[in-house]
C-alpha cells in the first residue's frame, strides 16, 4: 500500500511541478491576505493573539485552495477509473493525497512565514521557531488527513467549491484552537510557552483519530 501511495504521490508532484497550479496560488494568496489584514486591522505590527489569529487563519484559508483542487485531475482525467481497475488498496490514494497536501503546506509555510515576519510580525520569528515547528507539523498532518477525506467526499457533488469549505472549516476548528493557543505565547514579546505539551498532545490525538477515521471510510467513497 505504501508503495502504491508513493507512486501516486510522485505522479501528483510531477504534475504539480509541471503545472504549478496549487502551491504558487497558495503562497500568493497568503501574502495578499497579509496585506488585507494590514489594512483591515489598520496595524503595522502584530504580536501575541492578533498575530496568532492572522497567521493561522491565513494558513488555513490558503490550505483550502489546495484542498479544493486535490482530486480534480483524478475525476476529470480518469484517475479514479484507472485506480479502481488496478490491483491496489484504494486507501493508498487517500494517503498519497494527504501526503501531497502535507508537502504543499510545508512549502507554503516555508515561504509565507518569513513574509509574515517581514510584513506584520512585531517580535521576530527566530526565538519562536523551535517550538513553532512541532505545532506546524502536527497541525499540517491534521489538515492533510481531513482535507484529503473531505475533498474526496465533495468531489461528486454539484457545488463542490462551496461544500468543501463549509464542511472542512468546522472540522478544523479544534486544530485552530490548539494551534492558536499553543502559538500565542510564542509570538508575544517576552512570554514563554504556556501549555505547549498539552496542545501538542491534543493535536496528536486529533491527528490519530482522523487518520484512523479516514483510513476506515475512504474505500467507501470510491465504491460503486
Amino acid at each position: 500500500m505504501i508503495g502504491t501511495a508513493v507512486a501516486i504521490l510522485r505522479k501528483d508532484l510531477r504534475v504539480e511541478v509541471r503545472t504549478r497550479e496549487s502551491v504558487p496560488a497558495m503562497v500568493l494568496f497568503s501574502v495578499t491576505v497579509f496585506v488585507l489584514f494590514h489594512f483591515g486591522l489598520d496595524r503595522d505590527s502584530l504580536e501575541g493573539d492578533l498575530a496568532t489569529g492572522v497567521i493561522w487563519v491565513t494558513l488555513l484559508l490558503a490550505g483550502l485552495l489546495g484542498i479544493n483542487r486535490l482530486y480534480i485531475a483524478e475525476r476529470d482525467q480518469g484517475g479514479f477509473t484507472v485506480m479502481r481497475l488496478a490491483p491496489i488498496d484504494l486507501t493508498a490514494l487517500w494517503l498519497a493525497k494527504a501526503a501531497a497536501l502535507f508537502l504543499y503546506m510545508v512549502v507554503l509555510e516555508v515561504l509565507a512565514l518569513p513574509v509574515f515576519d517581514l510584513l506584520l510580525l512585531g517580535p521576530g520569528l527566530d526565538g519562536a521557531l523551535p517550538e513553532l515547528l512541532p505545532i506546524l507539523l502536527l497541525a499540517n498532518v491534521g489538515l492533510a488527513a481531513v482535507g484529503a477525506l473531505v475533498s474526496a467526499l465533495a468531489i461528486e457533488t454539484r457545488a463542490r467549491d462551496l461544500i468543501v469549505p463549509l464542511l472542512l472549516l468546522p472540522l478544523l476548528v479544534p486544530v485552530i484552537i490548539a494551534a492558536a493557543q499553543a502559538t500565542e505565547p510564542l509570538l508575544a514579546a517576552g512570554q514563554s510557552p504556556d501549555d505547549l505539551a498539552k496542545w501538542l498532545g491534543f493535536l496528536a490525538l486529533y491527528d490519530v483519530v482522523f487518520v484512523l477515521v479516514s483510513v476506515a471510510v475512504f474505500d467507501f467513497l470510491l465504491d460503486d
Binding site: G3, R18, Q77, G78, G79, R84, A86, P87
Partner: protein, 218 residues
C-alpha cells in the same frame, strides 16, 4: 469467460440495463451494437467491475459480481471513451505510472509504446498529441499489464487506416484475447464478431445481420 444472466443496472429511477444476458467464451469477440444511450458503456463498466449489477447474476473471468468484483482488478484492459491519461504527463510517464500500479516491470513500457508506434513521441506531454496518437497511447495503457479481457469502447473511432492496422494485433482480433467491443461501425463490427449483442434502451438481444442492427437505430 463471461456469463451474464438478467443483469439489471439502474441510475436512480432510470433503468440502464434491463435484464441483459449474454455468454462469451475465452478468446472470443463480442460486439455490442446500439444507439447512444442504450446502455453500452454501462455494460462495459459492469463487465469491468466498476459498476455493480443491481439484479441478475454476472460472472466475469471466474469472479462473481458484485460479490467478488475485487478479483477482476488488474485482469481487465479498458479502452474507454476518455483516454484515461494525465494530460500534463508524457506517454512514457503515464505508462510507467500504470506499470507501478499493476506491478508490471517498467521495461515493458518501451515495448508496448513501440508496438503502438508511439516510440518517437513518447516524451511529449499527452496534451500535445493528436487525437489518433492519444488513442494509440490509451490502447497501450490498456494492454500494458497483459490482461486476459479487453473492453473496448469504439476503439477504431477517429483513427486513420494506418493506425487501425497498427493497433489490430494489440487490441484487435490479432491479440488473441477475449474482447468485448462497442462500435457503431456495422460492417466492421460484424466482421470481427464471434457473437453479437444489440442493445436498445437497456434491453438486449442477439442480432444476426445488418438489417437487425439497423433496426436498433430506428
Amino acid at each position: 469467460m463471461i456469463t451474464l444472466d438478467g443483469v439489471v443496472r439502474r441510475y436512480g429511477e432510470r433503468v440502464a440495463l434491463d435484464g441483459v444476458s449474454v455468454r462469451v467464451e475465452e478468446g472470443q469477440t463480442l460486439v455490442v451494437f446500439g444507439p447512444n444511450g442504450a446502455g453500452k458503456t454501462t455494460l462495459l463498466n459492469v463487465l469491468a467491475g466498476l459498476l455493480r449489477p443491481h439484479a441478475g447474476t454476472a460472472a466475469v473471468l471466474g469472479a462473481e459480481l458484485p460479490r467478488e468484483s475485487w478479483k477482476l482488478r488488474g485482469k481487465v484492459g479498458l479502452l474507454a471513451h476518455e483516454p484515461l491519461l494525465y494530460r500534463e504527463l508524457t506517454p512514457r510517464e503515464n505508462l510507467r505510472f500504470q506499470a507501478r500500479l499493476h506491478g508490471v516491470d517498467e521495461a515493458r513500457v518501451a515495448v508496448v509504446l513501440d508496438a503502438v508506434g508511439m516510440g518517437a513521441r513518447a516524451d511529449d506531454p499527452v496534451s500535445e498529441l493528436s487525437r489518433g496518437m492519444v488513442q494509440r497511447v490509451a490502447a497501450a495503457r490498456a494492454v500494458l499489464h497483459d490482461p486476459p479481457l479487453l473492453l473496448l469502447d469504439e476503439p477504431w473511432a477517429g483513427l486513420d487506416p494506418a493506425a487501425v492496422e497498427l493497433l489490430e494485433p494489440v487490441v484487435g482480433r490479432g491479440s488473441g484475447k477475449t474482447r468485448v467491443v462497442v462500435t457503431h461501425d456495422v460492417a466492421g463490427g460484424l466482421r470481427e464478431a464471434d457473437t453479437t449483442l444489440g442493445l436498445k434502451a437497456g434491453v438486449a438481444a442477439p442480432v444476426g445481420d445488418e438489417a437487425a442492427i439497423r433496426d436498433l437505430y430506428r
